[in-house]
Amino acid sequence: MTQPTDPESFLPLTPAAFHILLALADSEKHGYGIMQEVAAISDGQIKLGPGTLYGTIKRILADGWIEESDERPDPALDDERRRYYRLTDFGGKVVRAEAQRLSRLVDAARTKRLVPKTRSA
């Protein structure tokens, strides 16, 4: 699939898409693994239901941001029927661009004293 070269053209991402990409940023995961990781990184504030999770997975798969992994875990350790997903190179660029956009917003909020300044080490 031909991708536009600029990942920023997709921003801002929906919260569900961003959290799923973020959950897959360091390793491939199955659906329930993504759901648990999203709950963990958002301190339990974001809980993706199965419908939102797989509706978003369907769309970002079609956009080429993630792909299904061929590799299956050891059947003794996990259910080999589960599908595992991982970020594509382009998906990595998209999530990085969104993270930078959010970081700039936090910086702006900090200059307006809406967010406490981080203590320097």
Binding site: G31, Y32, K47, L48, P50, G51, Y54, K58, L61, R82
Partner: protein, 261 residues
């Protein structure tokens, strides 16, 4: 596993029928597994109350995602139907151009070596064919151009605008010949640049060849002596472009494109 977990999993499995069938076939088993795992974990930590908590989060998710998926499915189906109608119109348009090319080069019966038939008599065929061409190009734009880079998408739109311009100039507003020529050259240049820009795209090379051929043949069949040859070839190219779109849209019946590793 608690009875509340297995009962909940069965009920959720039944509720999955609310999703569009394609979505359910693709992801239903996974969703049921995720729901079962959530119930199982909550049951381990909080007992039956934990399972009730899972339901409290799942029901709103179910309501919103079922309506989202149906809306997308309906939109996709309407778009696919439109693309098929446009592709069929393109095939008819190509056939009309072939007829135009052949008939315009026939000499009147009993006059060997006589003048070619006056094309004015046949212009209806040409313009209906051009309308079919516009439909076919719009079908390509809606079906395939979304996967192209921006420049060839824009030149395809320019090409489409050129056909609409020449058709409107002649058939609707009955302006002079040069206004028609302006629109026709816009179409041909748009098609030519679409083809040239698509050469760089390895997944769209068949479109590159077709658009370049379309531009060249539609240019050449303006010359009376070559009309039979290039009218027929241009008609065939329009048919092939539209048939590719139709065939690809029919193949999508089985489901949206899913990237696999």
């Amino acid at each position: 596993m608690g009875n509340s977990v297995s009962t909940s999993t069965r009920i959720y499995g039944w509720l999955l029928r609310l999703y569009p069938s394609r979505f359910r076939l693709e992801y239903g088993n996974e969703m049921a597994t995720v729901f079962r795992d959530s119930c199982h974990d909550e049951y381990q930590h909080n007992g039956a109350l934990g399972v009730i908590g899972v339901w409290a989060e799942t029901v709103p998710d179910l309501v919103v995602s079922v309506s989202d998926e149906h809306a997308q499915e309906d939109f996709q189906m309407a778009k696919t139907s439109l693309i098929r109608v446009l592709a069929i119109a393109g095939i008819v348009g190509g056939a009309l151009w072939i007829a135009f090319g052949v008939l315009a080069n026939m000499r009147p019966a009993g006059v060997p070596g006589g003048a070619y038939r006056a094309t004015d008599d046949l212009l209806t065929l040409f313009f209906l064919g051009a309308l079919g061409l516009a439909a076919g190009l719009l079908g390509v734009y809606l079906h395939s151009a979304g996967r192209w880079a921006t420049p060839p998408r824009l030149t395809l739109l320019v090409s489409l605008a050129g056909v609409a311009w020449s058709f409107a100039a002649t058939v609707i507003f009955k302006t002079n010949f040069y206004v028609w020529v302006g629109g026709w050259f816009t179409f041909m240049l748009g098609a030519l640049f679409t083809g040239l820009l698509l050469i760089a795209n390895p997944t769209a090379r068949q479109w590159a060849a077709l658009f370049i051929t379309l531009a060249v043949t539609t240019f050449l069949f303006n010359f009376e002596d070559w009309r039979v040859l290039f009218g027929v070839v241009a008609g065939i190219v329009v048919i092939v472009i539209s048939a590719l779109t139709l065939s690809s849209s029919l193949n999508r019946q089985s489901g949206p494109p899913i990237a696999t590793a």
